[in-house]
Amino acid sequence: MAFTLYSLIQAALLCVNAVAVLHEERFLSKIGWGVDQSVGGFGDEPGVKVQVMNLIRSVRTVMRVPLIAVNSVCIVLLLLFG
């Protein structure tokens, strides 16, 4: 399994894309992972599920605009160099 740094970047980009396309209303609320269902853990033991939900929400909020740019760059590179 020979990696290059570019394949690592591609893999990370695919993972972040996968997290970013999770829709709030249509999907996350249906399975009980919406943002409104995570309030209440105000102690200092939030639990794994709450941390995962927070992580998904923050990734979706922060990475939405940079992902457009990085995806475009990746697509252009793929078209040019295969």
Binding site: F3, T4, L5, L8, D44, E45, Q51, V52, L55
Partner: protein, 308 residues
């Protein structure tokens, strides 16, 4: 104040450069058997030399370095511009990568490196695994053998690449692209491991003082084990490879578990005494053991193709 190294100091550079802003505790000379001197003594000779050495450089009346005063002024302006650019670049870089924190990891000396390498290969007799602190900051690797450093992983990585090139050359399979591929594969695996560790530490809300560089250091120690296995595979054939693989995997697993146990498992918060504390220590134990178990797998993966 006694300054035996006084005569060896390059006085010219001391005269013109301001004293470095790094913590004097970081880079004092501990390799020699001399007792550690007061580091203030290092800076005063610079200040004393400024007066006499600066003399021949800028003479009083027109006998400057350049006969032309305009060229001299242009040189001064250019050097001040260069200094401004350098300061700006340093400021931008230190926004992304804290330079002082990085300097801490490279403040090593030969005694520390020797002891650490022996510890990595034979950790079973070491008693005290606690990282010592000095007024809230961890002690530098020069003063504490338990502190992680980035010098050994960096050097071991480069040595591993060179060894891989040599092993491939012995098998007539060498080409320069393979070397780059080997290097980037090893680097990518370390990056993946660091990212997975960071993610799992975040998800389990482990409040530890392990920074990214610490995790990078602990992940990078596997390169030492890889070098040992490849060397013995080259010297003693396939049997030597597996013996060294078993030995260095066990030593590295023991080392990782003992080192991370201090940092991860004992950082329980003070008010998780009763309820809810049952799942947490178990999950933290799983992280530590999983990290340790991952090391032999990756060592085997990255070195088996070099020793056929």
């Amino acid at each position: 104040m006694d300054l035996p190294h006084h005569g060896y100091r390059p006085t010219k550079t001391r005269a013109r450069a301001p004293p470095p802003s790094a913590d004097p505790l970081l880079f004092e000379d501990t390799s020699s058997s001399q007792p550690a001197m007061n580091s203030q003594g290092y800076y005063t000779p610079g200040y004393n030399m400024a007066a006499p050495v600066g003399g021949p450089q800028t003479d009083p009346a027109g006998n400057n370095l350049f006969a032309d005063p305009m060229a001299n002024a242009a040189m001064m302006y250019g050097s001040s511009l260069a200094n401004q650019g350098k300061d700006m670049v340093n400021k931008e870089i230190s926004r992304f990568m804290p330079m002082n924190k990085l300097k801490y990891f490279f403040a090593v000396d030969t005694r520390y490196v020797v002891k650490k390498l022996m510890l990595l290969m034979f950790p079973y007799t070491h008693q005290d695994w606690e990282v010592r602190y000095h007024r809230d900051t961890p002690l530098t690797p020069r003063h504490d053998v338990n502190a992680p450093d980035l010098y050994i992983p960096t050097m071991a990585f480069i040595t591993y690449i060179l060894l891989a090139g040599m092993a491939l050359g012995i098998q007539q399979r060498f080409s320069p692209e393979v070397l780059g591929l080997c290097a980037s594969t090893a680097l990518v695996w370390v990056i993946i491991e660091v990212l997975v560790m960071l993610l799992s530490l975040y998800l389990l809300t482990v409040h530890t003082d392990l920074s990214t560089f610490d995790l990078l250091a602990y992940s990078g120690y596997k390169y030492v084990a890889m070098i040992l296995t490849v060397l013995s595979g080259l010297l003693f054939g396939s049997d030597g490879y597996f013996v060294a693989l078993a030995w260095s995997s066990c030593a590295l697993m023991f080392f990782i578990v003992r080192s991370l146990k201090m940092k991860i498992l004992s950082s329980l918060s003070s008010d998780s005494m009763g309820a809810g504390a049952s799942a947490k220590p178990r999950l933290r134990l799983y992280i530590t053991v999983a990290t340790a178990a991952f090391q032999p797998i990756i060592i085997y993966w990255l070195t088996s193709h070099l020793v056929r």
